[in-house]
């Protein structure tokens, strides 16, 4: 259990294939998640897996790590065929995984979560909390996070929880480490730390599989690139051979063309006016949002950029009406909406696309259709009852609008990939004909294609007069998709930028991102720098640092 310095690699030299997936197929009921995929994992190297939402990345990883069993095909571990019945099998064979959705027990401490299922014992056979705590502390130092081993996971914000997930994988001291979107909630600096650790591990011969929808970030750490599309492997190259457009092209299967930037134009009058709003965490009494003022005009797209923990989610949820506002005032079309319920606010045209899709976004037991129509149900009501005709018409329209990939309105929402679920959540609110739409990390864990579609959607609505206020931790999105960037830090709005004139460096500096530029922050001085995940660029000039 020495998490800090992994045991020196046994006789696998760098680049040798340690784990092989052969003809892996996986079927869930009707959906074929994987259709006979071959996949190699190389010792001491980072293999990056690209693919759109629903391409089958997570499924493949679940199979490699024993979470799921393939319906066909087999695994070859160091030249011997193996079957992984469960995660324990996998961990025993030195394979461990960081899951896409954090899988932690919120009622337990960080220490307990990290050693859950593989306790350290004292001579008496009881759990050795002391040693576990020491190792936990060491891991946290390694990850450069100030989290005490005794801290409850419930008290951690998403980013920190993801750190714990990573720590747990490291503690397993694996020879093969799978990371399924480990950075989706991490700040640039935290990502830097992670990459440093990845390099240490690979130097020790550990094989890494890495998945991320931040394509540049991924390319920057990759040795090998593998692209999945619709459950099939469509390309694999050493990273030296490829660049971003190549990836995008292979992923989407087309020369994807999305205009990320909305053309400048006159905005309407102020739709949403936030004045001196203060929000407190009622449990801790800590001020999360501190005297924030911002305006959104109809047709305008305003981005709130900041680090994790800046209090953006609190701001958004307070505006949406979930958390009470301790002080200040919110005007919608000039009318104070204080005291209105969430429903009433939606009725007046103010709705939120929440940050945590699984917890706050989708209603798991309802179908795709019922999820879509839930928020806008009122408009389908005839004589006090839900008019099936009206509803299914709206659902049909909505599904087309947001381009959901699903077998039909009756399909279980849980059978959709992350990206498609997100589209449903956004569609749900668009179907309420909002005046102002609040989005908290709307593109978290969403593929480049879907991102493009989502922003295209927002632009279209904006042109029709929708005001948009969205939170992002991705500088690229902040700079390109918005008409105006406000930077939040420690609960306050510190500065405001015009993305056309400001540089990424300025914005990130304002957000308090002190240590070193994040891997995405290339060409600090390029004015109006094109979005790194922007598919139209084909010169690959900013493929990220190698």
């Amino acid at each position: 259990m020495t998490a800090v310095a992994p045991a020196p690699a046994e006789t696998t030299e760098i680049g040798q294939v340690v784990l092989q997936a052969v003809g892996i197929a996986k079927t869930y009921g009707v959906t074929k998640a994987l259709k006979g995929v071959d996949f190699d994992v190389r010792a001491g190297q980072v293999t990056v897996l690209f693919g759109e939402n629903g391409a089958g990345k997570s499924t493949l990883m679940k199979i490699l790590s024993g979470v799921e069993q393939p319906t066909a095909g087999h695994l070859v571990l160091r030249d011997e065929q193996v079957t992984l019945q469960n995660t324990v099998d996998a961990v025993e064979r030195g394979i461990s995984i960081i899951h896409q959705e954090t899988n932690l027990c919120s009622n337990l401490s960080v220490r307990d979560n990290i050693f859950l299922g593989r306790e350290l014992h004292t001579r008496t056979g009881s759990v050795d909390y002391g040693r576990e705590a020491e190792i936990t502390a060491r891991l946290m130092r390694q990850l450069e996070e100030e989290i005490a081993p005794g801290t409850l996971v419930a008290d951690l914000r998403m980013g920190q929880q993801q750190i714990v997930e990573i720590a747990r994988a490291l503690a397993a001291d694996a020879r093969i480490l799978i990371m399924d979107e480990p950075t989706s909630a991490l700040s640039a600096s935290e990502i830097e730390v992670l990459f440093k650790i990845i390099r240490e591990l690979t130097a020790n011969g550990v094989a890494i599989v890495y998945i991320s929808h931040h394509l540049e970030e991924a390319i920057s750490i990759a040795d090998h690139a593998v692209v999945l599309r619709d459950g099939e492997m469509v390309a694999h190259e050493p990273v030296s051979e490829i660049d971003l457009p190549w990836v995008v092209h292979r992923m989407t299967g087309r020369q994807a063309e999305y205009d990320f930037r909305d053309e400048p134009r006159e905005f309407g009058d102020v739709a949403l006016s936030v004045q001196h709003v203060t929000v407190a965490d009622l449990d801790t009494g800590r001020v999360m949002v501190d005297d924030v003022s911002v305006e959104v005009r109809s047709g305008e797209i305003v981005c709130v950029y900041g680090l994790m923990g800046a209090g953006r989610t609190e701001l958004m949820e307070a505006l949406a009406g979930r958390d009470p506002i301790a002080a200040g005032q919110v005007l919608l079309d000039g009318a104070d909406i204080a005291g209105l319920t969430i429903g009433e606010r939606i009725g007046r045209g103010l709705g939120l696309v929440p940050e945590d899709r699984q917890r706050d976004g989708v209603v798991q037991m309802l179908s795709v259709g019922s999820n879509l129509s839930l928020a806008g149900l009122r408009s389908a009501i005839r004589k006090g009852l839900v008019s099936r005709g009206a509803e299914s018409k709206r659902i049909k329209h909505g599904m087309a609008e947001v381009r959901v990939k699903a077998s039909g309105p009756g399909a279980p929402i849980t059978s959709l990939s992350g990206g498609n679920q997100q589209k449903v959540v956004i569609g749900k609110l668009l179907m309420t004909d909002p005046k102002v739409l609040l989005l908290d990390e709307p593109t978290r864990g969403i593929d480049v294609g879907a991102k493009g579609e989502i922003f295209a959607l927002l632009f279209k609505e904006a042109r029709k007069g929708l005001g948009v206020l969205y939170v992002t931790s991705e500088i690229g999105e902040a700079m390109t998709a918005s008409h105006r960037v406000v930077v939040m830090s420690k609960g306050r709005i510190v500065r405001e930028f015009d993305p056309r004139t400001a540089t990424r460096a300025e914005v990130m500096a304002a957000s308090g991102e002190s240590d070193g530029p994040a891997p995405v922050a290339v060409e600090p001085d390029a004015p109006a720098d094109p979005n790194p995940t922007e598919p139209t660029r084909t010169d690959g000039a900013n493929g990220g640092p190698r």
Binding site: G36, L374, S415
Partner: protein, 379 residues
């Protein structure tokens, strides 16, 4: 309760299985099938089996008279179960309905005795319909209390309604003070409070009134659940309360209301029951909550919330009714009757789990085959 009572993969129910979407008939059929098969299938299977078995063992089991007897019996449980269904769809539970039945019965009884007017020393005798309304209102009040405590104070439904179970039963005994109220229920011409039995123990078209009430309430409940926004909100908040809330669903309000509904159902049964047994007794309604919950769950509902249907619940109630009656009619000893009842409850819910597991096995096999061919094609 735990995740275990929800299927590994939630299947869309209620709204979907009802809401036709013209876009894809296929998926619609599918969802309907999945819905009904999974949700009510097992209940039907159990029902058919039970009827078949006892019909073989006794010729009188299926004769009309007996069916009426069973229906009357089932009706009381079914009415309570309809209220319980709403609560369970929300992921809650209501253990207090049994006591509420007793309490409303006792209240009605006392109202027949008349109310002492504090000012004028006179005793006031309300009309029968007033008595009925007031009694049911008491049921609603109890439910409202449950609802407030659970939705506003965010207390566990189980414990709140457990407490209310004691409170309600205690108040019932206080009201009856060790004496059953019987003759007063007939009322007196002079007092203008006669006619209770004529209505509430009547048998329109040969079916006891309770059966008709059950039918009426079942129809109402289906409309409420399947067609009204409230129903959709209920399913939604039962499955994911936070998400529902952010979609504008008034979750607190919904929660409060369902307990009121459960209370009203209990109140109605309270009134019907004292008419049925022609007396208000202290232990009226004991254990009704357990039978009702059993009916709902046998009917395919998930105690974790979000899954369940009116049809299933009614079938579930009939399962219990046909079983109880059959055991008596074939002369099973009272001791063994309990054993068998318990076993059947478990079996009824086990049936489709076993079936599902079997299904999965099958599915896996098919998939392997397909994949093989696919792989072959690839190579």
């Amino acid at each position: 309760m735990t995740a275990t009572d929800a299927p590994t993969k939630p299947t869309p129910i209620g709204p979907n299985s009802a809401g036709p979407d013209r876009t894809s008939l296929a998926s619609r059929l599918r969802s309907v099938n999945v819905g009904s098969v999974l949700v009510e299938g097992r209940a039907l299977v159990a029902l058919v089996l039970i009827i078949a078995v006892f019909a073989l063992l006794s010729d009188n089991y299926l004769d009309p008279g007996n069916l009426v007897t069973i229906t009357k019996q089932v009706a009381f449980n079914a009415i309570i179960a309809l209220g319980m269904l709403m609560v369970i769809l929300n992921g809650g539970i209501d253990l207090s309905v049994g006591s509420t039945v007793g309490l409303t019965g006792a209240v009605a009884g006392n109202l027949f005795r008349g109310i002492d007017m504090p000012l004028t020393q006179a005793i006031m005798f309300p009309k029968v319909w007033v008595i009925v309304v007031l009694s049911v209102a008491v049921g609603a009040l109890v439910g409202y209390l449950n609802g407030l405590l659970i939705s506003r104070l965010r207390l566990a439904p189980f414990i709140v309604t457990l407490g209310m179970l004691y409170v309600g039963r205690g108040l019932t005994e206080v009201l009856l003070d060790g004496q059953n109220i019987t003759n007063e229920l007939r009322g007196q011409e002079g007092l203008g409070n006669t006619g209770f039995f004529e209505v509430f123990a009547s048998r329109p078209l040969g079916l006891p009134i309770s059966a008709w009430v059950m039918v009426a309430l079942a129809v109402l409940a289906s409309i409420l659940l399947v067609r009204s926004p409230f129903g959709r909100w209920l399913y939604a908040s039962g499955s994911n309360e936070r998400a529902a809330e952010l979609s504008g669903v008034p979750v607190t309000q919904v929660k409060t209301r369902i307990y009121v509904i459960a209370g009203v159902c209990a109140g109605i049964v309270g009134v019907l029951q004292i008419a049925n047994i022609s007396s208000a007794t202290a232990d009226l309604g004991q254990f009704y909550e357990l039978n009702a919950i059993a009916a709902v769950v046998i009917g395919g509902a998930a105690l974790s919330g979000g899954r369940g249907t009116v049809k299933g619940t009614i079938i579930g109630a009939f399962v219990i009714g046909f079983l109880a009656n059959g055991l008596v009619i074939v002369g099973v000893s009272p001791f063994w009757q309990q054993v068998i009842t318990g076993a059947v409850i478990i079996l009824a819910v086990a049936v489709d789990q076993i079936q599902q597991i079997a299904q999965r096995r099958g599915a896996a096999k098919r998939a392997v085959a397909e994949a093989r061919t696919a792989a072959a094609g690839a190579a």
